[in-house]
């Protein structure tokens, strides 16, 4: 009898643990990172993440939290904030990243990065999001 009861308790504990893990992974898995913007980056990182997904950036760049795409064409952007240069030629500042997104060929002639006709405010949001990633 007590064996049955222990077996039942173990089953309940295992079930609860599994359910807890599932819930945990759900929240971890959606991976909405801390939306607090990195200082000195004007823009809305939450809107930025959505824009990155909608514009299709994830097809070429690996970006944490952007779910769509393969991300192997261009550099991963998860540590963008730590880079000293962007596009191989400009010092890494939020304004310069915005410039590059708005006019890739103008900033870096010969780059394969296409002009995706992003508008200024959207580009600022995207940069705000990218600067929340990595190396806290």
């Amino acid at each position: 009898m007590s064996l049955d009861r222990n077996g039942f308790l173990i089953a309940v504990i295992v079930f609860l643990a599994a359910a807890g893990l599932a819930v945990g992974f759900y929240f971890v898995g959606t991976g909405d990172p801390d939306p607090a913007p990195f200082r000195n980056v004007p823009g809305d990182p939450v809107a930025g993440r959505i824009a990155l997904e909608r514009i299709g950036c994830g097809s070429c760049h690996a970006i944490d939290g952007v779910r769509v795409g393969g991300g192997r064409v261009g550099p991963a952007l998860n540590d963008l904030r730590q880079q000293r240069y962007i596009a191989g030629r400009l010092p890494n500042t939020p304004d310069n990243v915005v410039r590059f997104i708005l006019d890739p060929q103008g900033v870096s002639p010969g780059s394969a990065m296409p002009d995706l006709r992003v508008v200024d405010a959207e580009a600022r949001n995207m940069v705000a999001y990218l600067y929340t990633l990595g190396g806290r």
Binding site: R54, I55, G56, C57, G58, S59, C60, V68, G69, G70, G71, R72, V73, Q105, G110, S111, A112, P114, L116, R117
Partner: protein, 369 residues
Amino acid sequence: MPVLSHVPNARRWVPVTVVVAALLAGCEMPLALAPRGPAAAEIASIWWILFWIAVPVSVIVFSLLGIAIVRARAIAREQDEHDEHDVRVAERLRETGADVGLPEASRPARVSWLEGRTTGFVIIGGGVIPTLILIFTTVMTLQGLAVFDTAPEDVAYSVTARGHMFWWQFEYPDHGVVTANEMHVPVGRSVRVELESADVIHSFWVPQLHGKIEMIPGKTNVIHIQADEAGTYFGKCAEFCGQQHANMEFLVIAQEEAEFESWLEAQAADAPEPTDELAQRGRDVFVDSQCALCHTIRGVNQAAPGVAPDLTHLATRRTLAARTLPNVRGNLGGWILDPQGIKPGSRMPAVNLSSDEFLALLEYLDGLR
């Protein structure tokens, strides 16, 4: 809560209702049970009849099981008590030496309503009733499904749907239209769909419009679908067909007939001429690269038929790679450069292009409206 005040003990049910509502809020009705066409409606009604048969059957069977468990435990407990009682009597006999004899029938006779009727119960409950239910459901299902074999009288259009690893080709042979991963139909009209396969067995499934029908190499299956409401309906391959089976989806777009007609007309036209210099260069890149060996752009080239999606009006489609990606410029670029990163196992190889060639090609393809 003026409404609830009419219901006795209403407050007691509030937390229950809240919890149940919260749980149900996470659910969505399966698409197959939200039919938008006659064929799917037939399937849904069969499903609901089976469901309402299954509910009482389950309730009765699980109740009997519960009763059996409870009664078995009660009997076991009583037996234990009586065994203990017998032992006590025997001990007292030994102590006193008195010859009072063993008590007779110390175990209670339990008379059940089933006593002597168990065989009949099993035959009726386990044999007769299930047989009747199965005969009824079989006849009902076959009758319902027979509807699919009779062609409706007013078939408006004919489409050939061909399954490929891992995408769909839709051809409107009477109109000279070939497109991919997106099938358009007029609302309220019956459309004949011929189902074929180019390689392995696929299954054509638009849950809100029709049941799953196999696409079998070397055999043409015919179904008739009709969408009763304008809208975008989700479809997918329902027969495991290989590595990218999960990303083999498509859309059925039901439009008012006039709108559908103008879509057909636009799709039948050759690809638009590129207007600016970059796109013109992109067209040259397309023709000179490997792209043109597998993909046809009507008015530009003729590739081997049926190898890869026709791109004549690529930019009008909502998705890329059989609904793997939304069809936006960024995704189109990524897909051209790294199809194996986005959809590993897809039949599309990466093409080596210089950045100039790539940007021109992207400009051209993105303008194929």
